[in-house]
């Protein structure tokens, strides 16, 4: 793309394109912007890297793992084999001879479904309600906020327990949504207050004055500025889903239809007496370790993701890819120096 065919004297308003960009080039640019650059940013931060690896491990466990590892069966091995002793039962067995490793693996797919459903529901609901309410203001704002306030005042856990008892949900997707049924309200309020300050920003006003529709302004101007916050909350609500579901399975409130780490802990506690006998302790510790590791992965990932939407970091990583001319970094320092001045 050369500038030869243009002269500065032309009225720039009339310019039309003289060159064609192939479809392939555009697709490549899109892939670079949406996948490669974020991946590079994540990889450059050790917390995000470790967090991503841990999450990837669980995804593998939930997809490929269930094919490789046979479902646990009662009496397939000796009772209460300690972990790391028998290679065919790497994490040992429970009091009925079930393979604990297989139980952990087979509890993963429903758990992942629950997490995705719950976290997506929370953040999408909160973002839509929060941004719309904060940006529109007036009556829309009042109505939406009244609704969220009502949800906020309902105590969450009892509500979930009541609904779980009435509906007896079996689908992991449904359980995920029930668990977060009123968790989005608080996030929606927080997002709304962020939007209230952002809507007065000059660039948002400029978009408004250009007559762009509200939808475009919300998606292009408001939400990108909130993305670090939204993403951190997405990961946090994923952790909430894990903890709540495990807790409710452990308490026996959710029906024991799926394999679940909470179910394992419940059985270890009620039938195995894992709290009192050292022999059965691993029955309780194995699912706990699975939960703790996943939660740890989420936290690390969340800490690393706030860089993902920082334009300064993005610009640097795009330069590495050669998507831009490499002298960018040298010329962008005016801002940096004023930053130091300030």
């Amino acid at each position: 793309m050369t500038a030869d065919d243009r002269t500065p004297d032309d009225v720039p308003f009339e310019t039309v394109s003289s060159s064609e960009v192939t479809r392939g080039e555009r697709i490549r640019a899109t892939i670079d912007e949406w996948i490669l650059v974020p991946a590079r940013i994540l990889w450059s931060d050790w917390r995000a890297r470790v967090g991503t690896l841990i999450m990837l491990l669980y995804v593998l466990m939930g997809t490929v793992g269930v094919w490789l590892v046979d479902a646990p069966q009662i009496g397939e091995g000796e009772r209460l084999i300690p972990p790391f002793t028998d290679p065919s039962y790497p994490l040992g067995t429970d009091s009925m001879g079930n393979d604990l490793f297989a139980q952990v693996v087979h509890a993963t797919p429903p758990m992942l479904e629950m997490i995705v459903a719950g976290a997506l529901f929370t953040t999408v609901m909160a973002t839509i309600v929060g941004t719309f309410s904060g940006y529109k203001g007036g009556r829309t704002d009042k109505l939406l906020m009244m609704f969220t306030d009502i949800l906020l005042t309902i105590p969450g856990l009892p509500l979930v327990i009541v609904i779980a008892v009435i509906l007896e949900p079996r689908e992991p997707w449904v359980i995920g949504i029930i668990l977060t049924l009123n968790a989005w309200a608080g996030l929606a309020r927080a997002i709304r207050s962020q939007v209230l300050t952002m809507r007065e920003e000059s660039f948002v006003e400029a978009s408004r004055l250009m007559g762009l529709p509200t939808r475009t302004i919300l998606v292009k101007d408001i939400v990108p500025g909130l993305m670090p916050y939204i993403l951190v909350n997405f990961v946090n609500s994923a952790r909430t889903v894990v903890f709540t579901s495990v807790g409710l399975y452990f308490l026996g409130i959710l029906p024991f239809t799926n394999h679940n780490w909470g179910v394992m802990m419940n059985l270890a506690y009620t039938t195995g007496g894992a709290l009192y006998t050292l022999r059965a302790a691993h029955w309780l510790l194995v699912p706990m370790a699975a939960i703790v590791l996943l939660s740890f992965g989420f936290i690390l990932f969340a800490q690393g993701t706030d860089r993902l939407f920082n334009p300064r970091v993005r610009a640097r990583h795009e330069n590495n890819a050669g998507a831009n001319s490499s002298d960018d970094a040298d010329e962008n320092s005016g801002k940096v120096s004023t930053h130091i001045q300030g």
């Binding site: 720039p12 000059s202 006003e205 004055l209 334009p311 610009a315 120096s337 004023t338």
Partner: protein
């Protein structure tokens, strides 16, 4: 004196420091450097600076943003923030025989040095105060922390506040938000002086204030300096502001001092090419418009300062010597105290003449104004409801109305330029937003090409021009270049947004090509590179250009430029205003230019043959052709504004302003009659009762004034008694109090 050693920096500075030294220094800075380690390399934001501060002088440090002037202030107090590292020597002499090595002090000693010996005033008074405690607490806390005697300290505090024309009782018991910006800044100065320091370092202390308040604070500062034998280091980007105040001036460029000397020498006979260009680039009221011209190029990056003289890429005098080695300080005209770091200082005055020179061609664009207005405002009111703060029962009270704009009529024609000038809070931005249909007026009508804008929006009556078309035609460029672009989107995406929505027929390549050509047109080339950048990778001037292009891509009829150049560096303002005027010619658009600065308004409107409108408390008090308003201001308020616009005059003392009260009255309860009468030196009884108006019959090109003094002799103004409040010397008396006294009569 100068041995002309062009070889290297360290040798040069040692060989020729004589002029930077003074007889009785209170602070000595030697080879001071501040560096930051960054990903891109070492960022040197203060580069081997040598400077002495004379006891009891006012030293003005002038530089553009990013020139390292704030770092200089931090270094004086050894207050460089982590991870910056400070090297060199800084010596403080409490009296001529003692010396203290500032960089050698323990944290406890350093704490004592700061505030007790050297204190500092920062830019934003609002953020320097803790909003949850009263001003008194701030004083008491400071006195207590430094183990001073409380009673004595508070007595001194009261004295200081009185010196600054503040009422001690009222101010001490107030919370910071209850004081106006100017009062806060004065209280902050008092707070910094309460421990009787010897040196006061002020970093842009008045930058956030109105010109009028700036000038008034400077005159107070002059008095304080004399009364308390202070040494003041005044850091600013505004050369004219400090010119009349300072004894010596030091001009900073690229993290070191380019020229140091007595203030009058620097203004009358500047020798460094940068100083000369800076003086020419600053818009002011006296220089003919043709003589102002911008400095080409950009200030260097602290990571990558050019070899040799750091100014050579922008300097018309630069030659091989400048590119190869760093110039030493040369004494100018063999005087001891005026030095310039330039090899060619002798030629500078010939090449860069400060007076008229023919080489610059300046496009004089005269507005081709149409017969019918594009946007017409008729009797427009904008009143905001202010929330009452009286608790639960107050919901039954009528809310307070803030009269932001009151009964204003204004026509803007095609290819027209109207500059609105006024103090902050006078309603100029609200009026601007009302005229581009971004703010719904509470009274009166706004029409676009004879279509009522808000009728079109609501679909009332016959709508000839749909609101979408009106919306497109009225655009805005914001004040803060950093905030006017979405930080998360690249330039390309930001600029394509309007095209995507409005020119649906364009395909991706056409859009891209148009954005590129626009970028190139405004001098951002190569455009492919700039289009792929995020806003933070652009300088302030470039950001403002992008914002301007974005508005122009809509092909608007009127652009509201709300303080569009105020946030830019002085050297860039003229350049951006020139660009805006050039684009006006290409795109056939009109501007409504809002500024608190009369000289910017004069430059912008004057070059386009436009008008200047002066606003006061929601009303236009004077309007007319730009040069006419500047040369022959008729309204007393315009005269005040002209007074407050600092001229490049050194010997002119900071005199008393032609106004009887500095603080602006409360717009919730504007004064009766002529709104300016509470502050007007010419006010008479009639002014409090009747309201003067702009001449309705005069044409829009004429000079119109809303003041009884322009009425003929038969008007009762000339018969009535002058208003004498007995306190006309008390400039800082609260204006709203005065207003109450008047209305009680």
């Amino acid at each position: 004196m100068s041995d002309n050693s062009f070889t290297g920096r360290s040798e040069a500075t040692k060989a020729d420091v004589s002029a930077i030294q003074v007889d009785d220094p209170i602070l000595e800075m030697r080879d001071a450097s501040v560096t930051f380690d960054m990903d891109r390399g070492e960022s040197r934001v203060l580069d081997q600076v040598n400077l002495d501060v004379q006891r009891n002088e006012i030293l003005g440090v002038v530089g553009e943003s990013g020139s390292g002037k704030s770092m200089f202030a931090s270094a004086l107090l050894d207050a460089v923030v982590d991870p910056g590292t400070l090297s060199g020597d800084i010596t403080y002499h409490p009296d001529p025989d003692r010396s203290v090595d500032v960089l050698d002090l323990s944290p406890e000693q350093l704490r004592e040095l700061r505030w007790e010996e050297i204190s500092m005033v920062f830019q934003g008074a609002q953020s320097s105060f803790n909003p949850t405690t009263t001003i008194r607490d701030h004083f008491e806390e400071t006195i207590e922390a430094h183990n001073y005697d409380m009673a004595q300290g508070m007595a001194h505090a009261r004295e200081l506040l009185e010196d600054l024309y503040l009422e001690p009782d009222r101010v001490l018991d107030a919370y910071p938000h209850e004081l106006s910006g100017g009062m806060q800044q004065r209280a902050l100065i008092a707070l910094s002086l309460v421990l009787e320091p010897n040196v006061l370092v002020m970093d842009e202390p008045t930058a956030a204030l109105d010109l009028l308040m700036q000038r008034s604070i400077l005159s107070l500062l002059n008095d304080l300096q004399e009364k308390y034998d202070l040494t003041v280091v005044f850091i600013t980007h505004d050369l004219p502001l400090v010119a009349g105040l300072a004894d010596r001036l030091a001009v900073m460029y690229a993290f070191e001092f380019a020229e140091v000397g007595p203030a009058d020498e620097i203004i009358r006979n500047p020798t460094h090419p940068y100083t000369r260009s800076l003086l020419k680039a600053v818009p002011n009221l006296d220089t003919p418009l043709q003589e102002m011209q911008p400095i080409e190029g950009m200030a260097p990056d602290p990571v990558d300062v050019p070899e040799g003289c750091s100014y050579h890429p922008r300097c018309p005098l630069a030659d091989d010597v400048c590119r190869a080695s760093n110039p030493a300080y040369h004494a100018v005209d063999d005087s001891d105290d005026h030095v310039a770091a330039c090899f060619h200082w002798e030629q500078a005055s010939d090449v860069l003449s400060l007076t008229t020179d023919g080489e610059t061609e300046h496009a004089e664009i005269v507005g081709k104004q149409s017969a019918d207005p594009v946007v017409s405002l008729t009797d427009v009111d904008v009143h905001f409801e202010q929330e009452a703060d009286g608790g639960l029962l107050s919901i039954f009270d009528d809310p307070d109305l803030v009269h932001a704009v009151d009964d204003v009529s204004l026509d803007v024609y095609e290819n027209d330029v109207v500059a609105l000038v006024g103090e902050s809070g006078c309603g100029k931005t609200t009026l601007g937003k009302t005229s581009i249909a971004a703010q719904r007026p509470t009274g009166g009508s706004v029409t676009y090409r004879e279509q009522d804008v808000w009728d079109a929006k609501d679909g009332v009556g016959d709508v000839e021009t749909p609101f979408e078309a009106i919306r497109r035609s009225l655009q805005m460029v914001h004040q803060d270049p950093g905030g006017s672009l979405n930080p998360n989107r690249k330039v390309q995406a930001s600029l394509e947004a309007p095209l995507k929505h409005w020119n649906t027929g364009m395909d991706a390549e056409d859009r891209k090509e148009r954005v590129f050509s626009m970028l190139e047109y405004v001098g951002m080339s190569p455009p492919e590179d700039y289009a792929g950048r995020y806003p933070h990778q652009l300088s302030g001037g470039e950001q403002q250009r992008v914002a301007l292009i974005r508005a122009l891509l809509m092909n608007p009829d009127l652009i509201l430029a709300d303080e569009a150049v105020s946030a830019l560096d002085v050297s860039l303002r003229v350049e951006v205003m020139d660009l805006m005027l050039e684009l006006q010619d290409v795109f056939d658009t009109s501007y409504l230019f809002i500024s608190h600065n009369l000289s910017n308004a004069r430059y912008f409107a004057g070059n386009a043959g436009g008008r200047i409108g002066v606003m006061y408390l929601g009303e236009i008090v004077e309007i007319g052709p730009a040069e006419e308003i500047i040369a022959n201001p008729k309204h007393p308020y315009t005269k005040v504004l002209k007074w407050s616009t600092a001229d490049l005059e050194v010997d002119q003392d900071v005199e008393e302003p032609p106004i009887s009260s500095i603080d602006i009255p409360d717009p919730v309860d504007p004064p009766s009659g002529c709104r300016f009468h509470t502050r007007c030196p010419e006010a008479r009884e009639a002014c409090a009762r009747q309201q003067p108006s702009l001449d309705e019959h005069a044409s829009d090109d004429e000079h119109r004034v809303a003041c009884f003094r322009e009425y003929d002799q038969s008007h009762e103004y000339w018969e009535s008694e002058p208003i004498d409040d007995g306190e006309s010397t008390d400039l800082f008396a609260d204006g709203s109090d005065a207003a109450e006294i008047e209305s009680d009569d």
